[in-house]
Subunit: 310 residues, 2 copies
């Protein structure tokens, strides 16, 4: 068992290779070629925290991946990062633990940003120039940088509840901190990255043709969008099962605003692109699927195997 | 994150301290003081194998434990052990991975044997002298040695389908390889340790007063006892939920031979001993509960913390 620390992991991570792997993972997931287990969960109240374990395998692959992730929400008060954990790369031939990537949450951050970028690329309107980012945390920063680069967007608008953090992120990504109304009025593509449990984007704030990637609703109770936004357009989901259970799509389905049968999985869309109309509102609802962990961990592990300098 | 290898783990393992911890864990589990997650599972067919993740926390404890265990059943053909995996000891204060006990299945073997010994001690008839072990694998060896020592039994009888392995184990534990009928006729306490999917012990083979610890039925489809044996006596279970789902008790409940409400959890029995009659047939049905992993991993981790020579 090789134990690999964060610095080695981030050095070995090839962003383009991992992006391609995660994109291919979504396709294999939607094609039914993967085994994704229900999430294992432990919850803590004092201090508040949780532990999730996710696991995924791909039919015929030489390895499978189990990810353990912790989140302890008062850690910043102790000058500790909120997230911790590892991804284990395990032989599907003999069960040996080949590598323990002690990523302390960084690979989850990266694969979540990559999923956002892949979804953005799949739904963006040709000719788009302006990216709006809702939130100013880790995902806001990673998604702003990756999507701007990948889609060649010219300008980035940032809104966050905390104006100082919004301004700091805006200057970091050479963007502009604006009001949420302004952001919605000007952005061609909006990425929401907050842990909100109430809708931040109202239905009347969203103009025709807007494309939205929502990554905040990763567990029950979370939501960033008025569900009527989904009723006005098309909804793409990373996993029908997960999004109906705890994504933005779930709120809209439970409210009777959309049918679960109308949802299109990202992997299906990537394999068979849909010609959205310029005026369509399109929402990509991303809850995070274990196949993303499989793909990014395997991508890093293969680079380490092939002797990448670490 | 401290990574601890098998040799260090087995050196640090204090059998008596771990036994006491596992016993206390059963009590806390049955008293509702623990959080035990549903098991995460991935299965493989070519080659046949599986991966289980179990997790447990105790209210107010400074750590929690997540165990990953793999089993690849053709490994012996490759001169590899069937089992592999690790137990992670994680801070319940901040989510940090404190120690990764890379036990490769050995702590699971140990805690399973300890559960057998704890159950045997709780149900054994005073004056017992003869232990019968069904099977000749790792659990057969560990349980024979531990129970003989702990209960001060004088003689050990071994039966296994493979006569050579039975004789080898018998000579290792200074016991006697016998027929299964002989074993049932002579043993005061029988421990069944096989992966059988068909009953090995028939109802007519079991004499009055026999006490049985059944550890083989750890997943759906497995069974070692004719369910009518349970109907003739009292049944103790490590976990009502798990045993009704996939233990020996489940077969008897589904056959309408016993009521789930008649089952007594081991932790309850340890806290409030039941006065069994000498003639009672008593079965302890053990499926393996994550609290055992928590207790043995924490016990090893504390010894490592306290600077035990490793």
């Amino acid at each position: 068992m090789k134990v690999v620390n964060v610095e080695e992991i981030l050095t070995a991570l090839d962003e383009d290779a991992a992006l391609a792997a995660v994109e291919s993972g979504f396709k294999r997931y939607s094609a039914g070629q993967t085994q994704v287990s229900p999430v294992l969960h432990l919850g803590f109240t004092e201090p508040p925290g949780d532990c999730h374990v996710k696991a995924a395998a791909v039919a015929g692959d030489e390895v499978f991946v189990v990810k353990l992730a912790t989140g302890f929400y008062r850690n910043p008060e102790l000058n500790l990062p909120t997230s911790n954990g590892f991804m284990a790369v395990i032989s599907a031939r003999n069960g040996e633990i080949l590598a323990l990537l002690h990523d302390q949450g960084h690979l989850t951050d990266q694969r979540t940003a990559m999923a956002g970028a892949i979804a953005a690329r799949a739904i963006v309107r040709p000719g788009s120039s302006t990216l709006g980012i809702v939130g100013a945390g880790t995902q806001a920063r990673l998604q702003a940088k990756l999507i701007k680069r990948l889609l060649g967007l010219e300008s980035v608008l940032i809104w966050a509840r905390n104006g100082k953090r919004a301004s700091a992120l805006a200057s970091e990504v050479r963007g502009e901190a604006v009001s949420l109304d302004d952001l919605c009025a000007r952005a061609d593509l909006i990425v929401t990255t907050t842990p909100s449990t109430e809708p931040l984007l109202g239905v009347d704030m969203i103009k025709r043709g807007t494309r939205i990637v929502a990554v905040g609703a990763d567990s029950p109770g979370k939501r960033e969008l008025d569900p009527r936004i989904l009723a006005r357009g098309r909804t793409i989901v990373d996993s029908i099962a997960q999004c109906v259970d705890h994504g933005e799509a779930g709120w809209a389905v439970r409210a009777g605003l959309i049918e679960a049968s109308s949802l299109i999985e990202l992997g299906t869309l990537l394999d068979a692109p849909v010609a959205f109309l310029p005026d369509d509102i399109v929402v990509a609802d991303l809850t995070g699927v274990a196949i993303q962990d499989f793909e990014i961990a395997k991508s890093v592990w293969r680079r380490l195997q092939s002797g990448a300098r670490v």
